[in-house]
Symmetry: C3
Amino acid sequence: MNRAGKPPGPDGGQVPPPIPGMPTQHTGQQIKIETRTVPLTTSGNGEMLDITPDASRLLNSVGMVEGQVTMFVPGSTASLTTIEYEPGLKQDFPAAFERIMPRDIPYEHDKMWHDGNGHSHVRASTVGPSLVVPFSGGRLMLGTWQQIVLVDWDNKHRTREVIMQFWGV
Amino acid sequence: MNRAGKPPGPDGGQVPPPIPGMPTQHTGQQIKIETRTVPLTTSGNGEMLDITPDASRLLNSVGMVEGQVTMFVPGSTASLTTIEYEPGLKQDFPAAFERIMPRDIPYEHDKMWHDGNGHSHVRASTVGPSLVVPFSGGRLMLGTWQQIVLVDWDNKHRTREVIMQFWGV
Amino acid sequence: MNRAGKPPGPDGGQVPPPIPGMPTQHTGQQIKIETRTVPLTTSGNGEMLDITPDASRLLNSVGMVEGQVTMFVPGSTASLTTIEYEPGLKQDFPAAFERIMPRDIPYEHDKMWHDGNGHSHVRASTVGPSLVVPFSGGRLMLGTWQQIVLVDWDNKHRTREVIMQFWGV
């Protein structure tokens, strides 16, 4: 997690322009759709998994140059977002939600279903299950210190399948 | 709301793979766009409406097999997200926001406009107005216990029009 | 910010139907993708910038009638959402996050990196970096009082490049 090799410019906001100084346009080619699923195992309890390598690998495999990847996590106790994936924030992000939507307060969900994961549901619905990331020049247009993460809010070990649907040329 | 008929596997994360064990790809067909609006009436105050049946019905009517539906709620006091739509969470989710972004504290918005809905605006902007859900095999790729909801944060009865734009083949 | 000229109907939810009373469909034309970047300068600290005029101007310039714009902010300390962009909420929205995810509490991120912006990261990941807005009839399908905003949560002046990728016919 050494940031000494950090490129010049303001922290976390670097992105290569699609084509330097030029807008891009693809009109002569037919757009393709390719849908993939990424299987994952989590320990729940706010664990975050960096799924950027999966997205990059799949983008390479589908061979698209310009477009977007629509990501979606099926299930109602997990979220997708981006974060600087480093050990500090892997603690800070779930800790922030433990403060505002605590585990150990009464939830109607728990009274009814006895899952003990009412807090997991409200956190998941707040952060949300979908994310769309554009790509250009064959690369995801993320900042240098920005990774795509699955956050598993459930209160136990889970298996997940993240959908990554690639759209482009 | 009986979950006895629940299919095997971990709770809330089931999704049929696009084609079992196989990635899907559609290159020989031209992608279509179809835009629909879903009119709704809400009582506001954090009421959540399950709009999954609307999305499924419209998906059937547009006859697409693979693609995504982009959903968007016009207006600045409502949100779209997913949740397990059951009576407990229908109370828990708005209650969580009442704790963190309470109705009865001063908002500059209310001092200026006297709408009394400053809390509605900050909640709506936190959860967000857009959601993208992929579909494959003619079915929305939701988890078994995951529904798409409109959350109306406004402090009064409202009529809403949710946009559902279908993209696919 | 005078709302006297407000059109009739419920506040904040007006949107022109794609074609009055009719669903829209575009099957005979080939979908295009056009990727643009919008450079911005912010003062950070929860400043919100209205980027609706940029989106509208670019939509006009790409000449599409029906489709969606996928927006994404590279970097891990900023978010995209919609809000009623008026002076009250420009204070209320960051103030709400100062209450729930305060600047002046310990963050592991700050202990490790000494950026002092742990709060910026957790807020950015909560609200999220992506937004998808449909358009029809050549117009973004926003509510009358709903604007698209970049929220810069960082603790200092920043330059940003918001990606706007237009999809449509």
